[in-house]
Symmetry: C2
Subunit: 206 residues, 2 copies
DNA sequence: GTAGCATTCAAACGCGCGTTTTACCTACGA
DNA sequence: TCGTAGGTAAAACGCGCGTTTGAATGCTAC
């Protein structure tokens, strides 16, 4: 993994993603990261300035793509007028699922994201809110249109629950063990199906 | 806080809970913990043996009580035959809510618990499964009785989603900001109400 | 070929970590 | 009154941390 035909920066980002997912931001050291990336220790500070900044770049690399895909999927769903709640939920959930299934680190990244949630880091929250808040607003508007009887604030609460359950499901927090013969991909796909069904009913609750 | 009329052990546990919630297990140092607890640095290793063991004791102290309360609430709900899905969900969710509202550290503990989920620590998972797996089995049986048409495995998935969303909600992961004039208690209480409504509908989904 | 720049490298910096050691205090039963 | 055990105290242990330094190397343009 992280073989030589990737650049030093890319190898560091990939190794950092893996190790942050496994050990946490405080738990993974730059010595472990650079060893896994097969680069010199000083390369992190040379290319990224600091560990803090490396963490930010790990997020930026994936989140830009994720949210672009989410908005594309939403527009696609909205473009044909017969789209139902499940399709809108799919536009939100499936890009995250796809990311988690992406070879080379997507699965690790969703765990990193879950850790970031748990860290409750204010700086990161602001970063997420500033950079990706408009995505949630866009989805909120779309859901509000499909659920005209639902109070706007109530909808915010419910979307927040959906986002939480999604994070939880993608990061494989749950107690449900993957059965032998079921790949990680299949496990996550089923997880997403269950989640969409569950969330659609939850959003429609009176 | 952690004033002198608590024992050294209790002050360490309280301070550790607070700091683990805020900084994580790797992020909070024993020097910070002992300073906050106003005890000597060596007291942790004297009373608990190691940092690792201190972490375990932080969990044990709260989880025994939580699961006892959950099972009591479940029996109470089942005792009157008219109990509906919302009551069963309340038996699962409200003890966690009460714990999170407990003065002296319950609020911190639910965040510690959320961190533990995110850590994906195998030893901890086994500990939780061994010690508290029977609680989930008991709830599963109760829900299965109320939802006879729902496939058993489907129910496991959905309860897992509920547990995830609950963890997320109690730990205040969400992006929903607490409005000024709303206490943390009120915020969490509303969170629980929304969650019960949402989850009940989700569980009833066809 | 060589100057100039970007990158890599080994080594070291000071610091804070978990843990251990050793001495000291205090209370209580013999 | 003294010995002893339980608890607390300060100091130090070795280690791994993030970061910095300065020299060595590779690459590109002239």
């Amino acid at each position: 993994m992280n073989s030589q035909h990737f650049s030093t920066k890319e190898r560091i980002l990939g190794a950092a993603e893996q190790l942050f997912a496994r050990l946490g931001f405080a738990g993974a050291s730059l010595r472990q990261v650079t060893a896994a990336a097969n680069v010199n220790l000083a390369a992190v500070n040379y290319h990224f300035g600091s560990k803090e900044n490396l963490i930010n770049e790990v997020f930026r690399r994936r989140l830009d793509e994720l949210n672009t895909h989410r908005l594309q999927a939403l527009e696609e769903a909205l473009s044909h007028p017969e789209s139902d709640l499940e399709e809108l939920l799919g536009a939100f959930i499936n890009p995250a699922l796809d990311l988690s299934l992406d070879r080379d680190g997507g699965g690790a990244f969703v765990r990193v994201l879950a850790r970031a949630y748990a860290e409750h880091n204010d700086a990161l929250r602001k970063f997420l809110s500033d950079n990706y808040g408009h995505v949630m607003k866009r989805f909120h508007a779309a859901f509000a249109q499909r659920l005209p009887d639902l109070d706007k604030e109530e909808l915010y609460w419910r979307l927040d629950i959906v986002a939480g359950a999604l994070t939880y499901a993608m990061a494989d927090f749950g107690v449900i063990k993957r059965k032998s013969g079921v790949t990680e991909q299949q496990h996550r796909e089923r997880s997403a199906e269950h989640l969409i069904r569950f969330a659609a009913a939850g959003l429609r609750a009176p």
